[in-house]
């Protein structure tokens, strides 16, 4: 069993490297970088929603928090290594506190959605109205609606003047995504990940088995936030500015849409959904015939109606249907990737 996993991992690495190499032939690295970053952001929600059953309406909060943490720290430190680390830990810590408040208070489902949404709104309102000179952290002005431009961007660790930008930033982001992907893979194979899936399936049962569901959900939530924070920090480096828009509900909505379209309960689905839709949006942005938002709306509605499991599971089952059963384990995994709400529907 472990050998077949190893083979699959190796295949994934090879495929990923080939993709990282070939994609710049098709799309400029500047655009690719942001697609990769969005992929990572989607994966962060895909992990906690698809595998942990936690529907967070405010994943953008952690994304924005990561970006702002990076920008503020970079202005104060003048070097990028520590800010990158902080950008992962601050959102994780914030999520741990928020998660503890929600999960220990037994908030679930729609209430969880409301709280995460409200917290995102509060962050947005606060950051958006911090233009006054009194909102300063160290040397960094929060800037309100303006956002924070002109911070120190990514450099080779220890060498503040060796900037990583352009093509190099793309490769850094792509490798980071690959690393996060394997981290998630490892996590899901570990006992922690398998129990997290158990919690998604039946919280009460897992609790009756003697597992502390509240703590485990909190930890998973924080891990998701850490990944979103990393994506945020990379985004700050790509855009060279952070703005309150990062915290907006629209941003949160997009992350959810990426996951739905790509396929929940898969690792690849959210990444493909994010990159695909973001690129589509980019292409649509270059035409002015039909409104961009309108098309995104139609896509979402059509997916919910006709392909509620998303692209990746659909393609996988198509693949299975045409090439037969590859391995029992794989198909079993695929099937439970997303529970269809059949009870009432």
């Amino acid at each position: 069993m472990s050998r077949s996993w190893g083979r699959q991992d190796a295949a994934t690495i090879v495929a990923a490297i080939v993709l990282i190499w070939l994609m710049p032939l098709l799309i400029s690295t500047y655009t690719l970088t942001v697609l990769v970053i969005y992929g990572m952001l989607a994966l962060s929600l895909g992990l906690i929603w698809g595998f942990g059953g936690i529907l967070c309406f405010g994943q953008a909060a952690f994304f924005g928090l990561g970006a702002y943490t990076y920008a503020i720290a970079a202005i104060n430190v003048g070097e990028s290594t520590l800010p990158m680390i902080l950008a992962v830990f601050v959102p994780a810590l914030f999520a741990a506190l928020l998660g503890a408040m929600m999960f220990y208070g037994r908030l679930t489902d729609v209430y969880l959605g409301v709280i995460t949404l409200v917290v995102t709104l509060i962050l947005f309102k606060f950051v958006n109205s911090s233009a006054g000179p009194q909102y300063v952290i160290g040397e960094a002005r929060l800037g309100g609606f303006n956002g924070i431009p002109g911070f120190h961007t990514l450099n080779i660790p220890g060498q503040p003047d060796e900037y990583i930008w352009g093509d190099a930033l793309y490769y850094v982001c792509a490798v980071a995504l690959l690393a996060v992907y394997f981290l998630v893979t490892w996590l899901l194979r570990s006992s922690f990940g398998r129990i997290a899936i158990g919690i998604r399936e039946n919280e009460t049962r897992v609790s009756l088995m003697g597992y502390d569901v509240r703590a485990r959900k909190t930890i998973l939530f924080a891990i998701g936030a850490a990944i979103a924070g990393l994506a945020g920090a990379l985004f700050a480096n790509w855009g060279e500015i952070v703005t309150p828009g990062l915290f907006s509900l629209g941003q949160s909505a997009e992350i959810i849409i990426w996951c739905i379209v790509g396929g929940l309960g898969t690792r690849l689905g959210p990444i493909i959904g994010a990159a695909g839709l973001a690129y589509l949006k980019f292409l649509l942005g270059q035409q002015s015939l039909i409104d961009n938002t309108l098309i995104m709306g139609i896509i979402l509605v059509l997916f919910v109606l006709f392909l509620p499991k998303g692209i990746v599971p659909a393609v996988a089952s198509l693949w299975k249907a045409s090439f037969g059963r590859r391995s029992g384990r794989k198909s079993a995994r695929r099937r439970h990737m997303r529970r269809v709400d059949s009870a009432n529907g």
Binding site: S191, R194, I195, I197, G198, R200, E201, N202, T204, R205, V206, S207, L208, M209, G210, Y211, D212, V213, G328, A332, R335, H336, R339
Partner: protein
């Protein structure tokens, strides 16, 4: 000689003005098998929930192996080595039987041993033919049996079962009795049950609940012969 593994003193649970269980003193010895019976609303399920931590009692205390567990969370109770099965089948529908049982075992042992344990439980409960099936696709009886497997896999010293035989076929019930019989070799077992047929078949001591309090406590045959119980339990039929 045998130690007391479960004890409640003055356990009372009120919902608003309604008293669901009233000053219940209950005790159970190691490897004892006990059934809780009573008409609907007698308070046996509330009592069960208070012990398992699903509810926090308004008054009174719960002890397990002399450890006070009043107001503990279910997961803390379970961590002591208490196996719990709730009234509705509580299983992980999207996962396979093996995965379900592995997860129960994993709580008390490393991953590899848990896999071996899961295989062992599957053999003991004769679940081999459905081991790779998803729970959501199994029949009700099978799901109940798997849930017992989840309880067994944790090697508990105290097992709390809420209506394990509900909705099962005769064949299922026989198998269930056998499993419970096997459990009592290592654990004390409390069963909340309606099905008198089933209670007779496992022939245990019975505690009768009525209006939130314990009415009597004796062997099943004597209890069933008791006119007061018959009156309470069977209502107008008596």
């Amino acid at each position: 000689m045998a130690e007391t593994v479960l004890e409640t003193t003055g356990l009372t649970m009120r919902f608003g003005g309604v008293v669901a269980t009233d000053n219940v003193n209950f005790s159970l010895k190691a490897r004892e098998l006990r059934c809780l019976i009573g008409p609907n609303g007698a308070g046996k399920s509330t009592f069960f929930k208070c012990i398992t931590g699903l509810l926090t009692p308004s008054e009174g205390q719960v002890f397990m192996r002399n450890q006070e567990t009043t107001g503990w969370h279910p997961h803390e109770v379970a961590s002591l080595g208490v196996g719990i099965k709730t009234q509705v089948p509580n299983v992980m529908d999207g996962l396979t039987v093996v995965e379900n049982i592995w997860m129960a075992a994993r709580r008390f042992m490393p991953s590899k041993e848990a896999s071996d344990k899961a295989q062992d439980v599957i053999e003991r409960l004769a679940l081999g033919s459905i081991a790779k099936a998803e729970l959501g696709r199994l029949a009700h009886g099978e799901r109940q049996r798997v849930e017992l497997g989840l309880v067994v896999a944790a090697d508990p010293w105290l097992v709390l079962l809420d209506e394990p035989a509900a909705g099962m076929t005769a064949g299922d019930v026989d198998r269930m009795s056998a499993i419970i019989d096997e459990m009592t070799r290592t654990a004390a077992v409390v069963i909340v049950e309606h099905d008198m047929q089933f209670i007779r078949s496992i022939a245990s001591t019975v505690t009768v609940f009525h209006q939130g309090a314990i009415l009597m406590e004796d062997h099943v045959d004597k209890v069933m012969a008791d006119p007061i119980v018959r009156n309470v339990y069977l209502g107008k039929k008596a």
